[in-house]
Symmetry: C2
DNA sequence: TATTGTGTATCATAATATGATATGCGGTCA
DNA sequence: TGACCGCATATCATATTATGATACACAATA
């Protein structure tokens, strides 16, 4: 295992973290060997590290199948995160009101490097599972929320992001043409909001308004997802947008701190 | 640092985890020295471990104040947890419907040792912050959800739990008399649901129905919190309870796996 | 300017993690 | 039934890796 430079880096800890990150939507429970394969560690190391994580309550272990799974401790970490994020406390009451008012699913998203992450979600209607749980990361360029945030950035940064940030194709109608994405963002600069259709799921419309923070830049957005079957563009602009913008504007002034732009805060390479 | 037995336990990893667990509702961001104090590690160890966590993206670091904070990665872990918990996928759609139907806050809780933990929350009205975020752990005996789950346990285990499990006083009206808690649970055995008043917050009423799992035992519950000012006991029993029970019953049959009773799954001591 | 409380960097030492190897255990197939 | 296979678990000598005392840097305060 490569030592990342030296003496200020505890490799064992990093390896242990790699084990945690081996779990995702497609890998919900893992055997020892699977864990070893997914983490790239050898059998012995995996054994010791997984055992340690189990002892410390970070991994559950099925006594019959001997397979490991995320433990409740993972939710406790999320709990601690929420208290530490100054935006969440300000936003949640207003988001609750908004969701009840609209009767549609409302999300709070933050910028995390070149992705957005769902920090808080208030589902009001049944949808697919991934749309109901927090912590999901998506390429910023492919989401209404990401485009809304980017629209508050200086022109040069917007251009750089459009050019370099990753894109992923989720549906046949996901936009992979960066020129079109640029247009969408530039439109958001004018409008103050962003709309995207069918980027993640067919016939799903996302509407997002930026939460303006430090220096006029937005690192968060209020987002709403509705069905294209029940909402026309006009209906969205008259019924949803004003309330969405009011909510974002109401959150903005009470939130002064910058966070999570992924350049200054994150270390490593 | 004591080596927990030997050779199958990586102390550095455990120490790193202790650093993560140093963050909670009262400690949202920590300096290096605070981190050292709260984790019980010396300055050098803390420095190396915190630096590693930062490099790996598990801790954000404010470039000005040099203080550490939980990173978005903590939410990603929660995301992975949700996929791994077989109950959540079954429950969420039904909980959404329930919350919309009732217009009141609905929670999904699971048993985690002798505590309950909020796994999913669907707030419909403004409340205090801690009631809106997932991952909160509370002593099972002090909650309607915990009592509802316990009511499905064999008599001997119920008795043992009432006697030994922890209690914490949150409000002046939190019940600390274990005899009364026993009565409350025995009543739930008969009724099939549990109600508690003012345990966490004054004038807050909690109503919970167990989600029956493996072998008739419940390790999860559907819970609803309402204000005693707007709901009488009768109103709760007629308007809320039937729907709550329907939801719990609808989830139960589709959920066969046992999880998280905290005895068989957790290791260590 | 001196001082205190921080964060950061360095380094010799030994304690700690390493990973090859061996054992145990439960299935599956002939 | 017996041999086999896959996987989890245990062991142990080795040197790689973490250790923590110490020294330095920097900012805020007095």
């Amino acid at each position: 295992m490569k030592q990342k430079q030296n003496t200020l880096y505890v490799a064992s800890l990093a390896k242990g973290l790699r084990l945690l990150q081996a779990f995702d939507e497609r890998h919900t429970d893992l055997s020892l060997l699977e864990l070893a394969q997914r983490s790239g560690l050898d059998k012995s190391a995996t054994q010791r590290l997984a055992n340690t994580l189990h002892m410390e309550g970070m991994l559950d272990k099925d006594p019959d199948t001997r397979r490991f799974r995320p433990s409740h401790a993972w939710l406790e970490l999320a709990y601690a995160y929420y208290w530490s994020d100054p935006l969440v406390g300000q936003a949640i009451p207003k988001l609750i009101d908004l969701a009840q008012d609209l009767g549609e699913t409302v999300n709070l998203t933050e910028l995390s490097g070149d992705h957005i992450i769902y920090v808080s979600r208030l589902p009001c209607k049944r949808t697919y599972f991934a749309a109901t749980i927090i912590g999901r990361r998506l390429p910023a360029l492919s989401t209404s929320a990401g485009r809304a945030m980017l629209s508050t950035f200086p022109e040069a940064e917007r251009a750089a992001a459009v050019e370099n940030w990753p894109i992923k194709k989720f549906t046949p109608s996901t936009t992979t043409d960066r020129a079109k994405i640029r247009d969408s963002i530039e439109q958001a600069v004018v409008d103050g909001f962003a709309i995207s259709t069918g980027q993640m799921i067919l016939n799903e419309v996302g509407i997002a308004t930026p939460i303006i923070g430090h220096g006029g830049r937005a690192f968060a957005a209020v987002q709403c997802s509705v069905s294209a079957h029940t909402y026309t563009r006009e209906k969205i602009e008259t019924e949803i947008l004003p309330k969405l913008q009011d909510t974002a504007n109401a959150i903005s002034p009470s939130f002064q701190q910058q966070r999570g732009n992924g350049i200054s805060l994150q270390g490593g390479a």
